[in-house]
């Protein structure tokens, strides 16, 4: 029997379950290595070379190099692991989360100060809220 996944119909959301975790095992373990200051320096000095030490897929490596966090999550990454890349770059969780929406930092920050993203229209796929697939990317990226 396959894993029961009642969460697949939540828009704009990937639940980190055992299937995602298997897919992202080395991507996430690479991220863990960045909790060590010396490793952070080595990574920053030559990202490509550092990534070559890890048995990750080329697609995962490209997503890391591009800091494409949505791509990393699709490929099995989890935000608490990926946050180590952001920390290495000197980014906050707010900057990292915002980067996944298409909004600029200021747009995302303003949305949070106004009370955050509404759950209305964003509970199930096929509603019309701002997190739905047909409304991506949001903010500045969506106006281009």
């Amino acid at each position: 029997m396959a894993l029961d996944k009642p969460y697949l119909d939540v828009p704009g959301t990937t639940i980190f379950d055992a299937d995602q975790s298997r897919k992202g095992y080395w991507l996430n373990q690479f991220c863990m290595s960045l909790m060590n200051a010396e490793n952070r320096e080595r990574f920053k000095a030559d990202e490509r070379a550092y990534l070559s030490e890890w048995p990750m897929s080329e697609e995962q490596k490209q997503a890391v190099l591009a800091r494409d966090l949505n791509g990393c999550i699709r490929l099995g990454g989890n935000i608490y692991f990926l946050a180590k890349i952001g920390a290495t770059d000197g980014k906050s969780y707010q900057q990292m989360a915002g980067s996944m929406t298409g909004m600029t930092e200021q747009e995302y920050r303003d949305m949070m100060v106004r009370g955050g993203r509404s759950p209305e229209g964003n509970r199930y796929l096929n509603e019309d809220g701002d997190a739905q697939p047909h409304r991506q990317p949001q903010g500045a990226a969506g106006r281009k």
Binding site: A18, I73, Y80, G90, A97, G116, S118
Partner: protein, 287 residues
Amino acid sequence: MTMARITASVYTSHVPAIGAALDHGRTGEPYWQKVFAGYEFSKRWMREHMPDVVFLVYNDHATAFSLELIPTFALGTAAEFAIADEGWGARPVPVVVGHPELASHIAQSVIQEDFDLTLVNRLSVDHGLTVPLSLMFGQPDAWPCKVIPFAVNVVQYPVPAGRRCFALGQAIRRAVESYDDDLKVQIWGTGGMSHQLQGPRAGLINQKWDSRFLDGLIEEPAELAQVPHIEYVREAGSEGIELVMWLIARGAMADVAGGPKPTVRHRFYHVPASNTAVGHLILENNR
């Protein structure tokens, strides 16, 4: 003989940016003032109601536990717990001093009540544990009491159900109250409230749902414990699942075992701190 007792439960979000604001001296900024204002009463209350030990329920954020080992419930039994470097460098806060004897007693009692805990003798603690300490104690040179860390897996599914957390809290209360030393123990439940840190739905906040959660936690925790994971995800964002940890602390209160209702000493709610709705409660046990 006088036994240990649970005097109160404290609930709070543990947003990492709150720690960063404290550590980098930004607490005076209007944005952060609105957060810290909600904890002014709490710091005064703590000074007047200082426990000997805090049993601190939190989640590790891929810090001490990588994908190599994913314990559902991990109890810190060491004498000391180092402050982790989560990638930004370790927070400049005091080392956390444990209570190995009480922790070992809780382990024996709770495991023999059929909760399969993982015991951890080497554990570095991240913002999930240190931000609540900072919010309640400020910035002392040493934490004013001992702390037993209790880490819950809410990162990789399957995560424990609310009803399991609530039942575990009840077992923890029985364990604490069968420890033959005159100790005042608080139990803290941390994390939440509504927030989502990933994907196009990042930034989700649900004030109505959070408010109902706080009401339910105070008045009808057994019913609240029946809420399935999918409701947390849909209504409170993917990282809102952290709120199941509050049910462990609530389960340890006397009324759940037929005693009197707790007194609500403090309730605070504010949006936002970074990506997150900040919720905070203090419940005093009555006996």
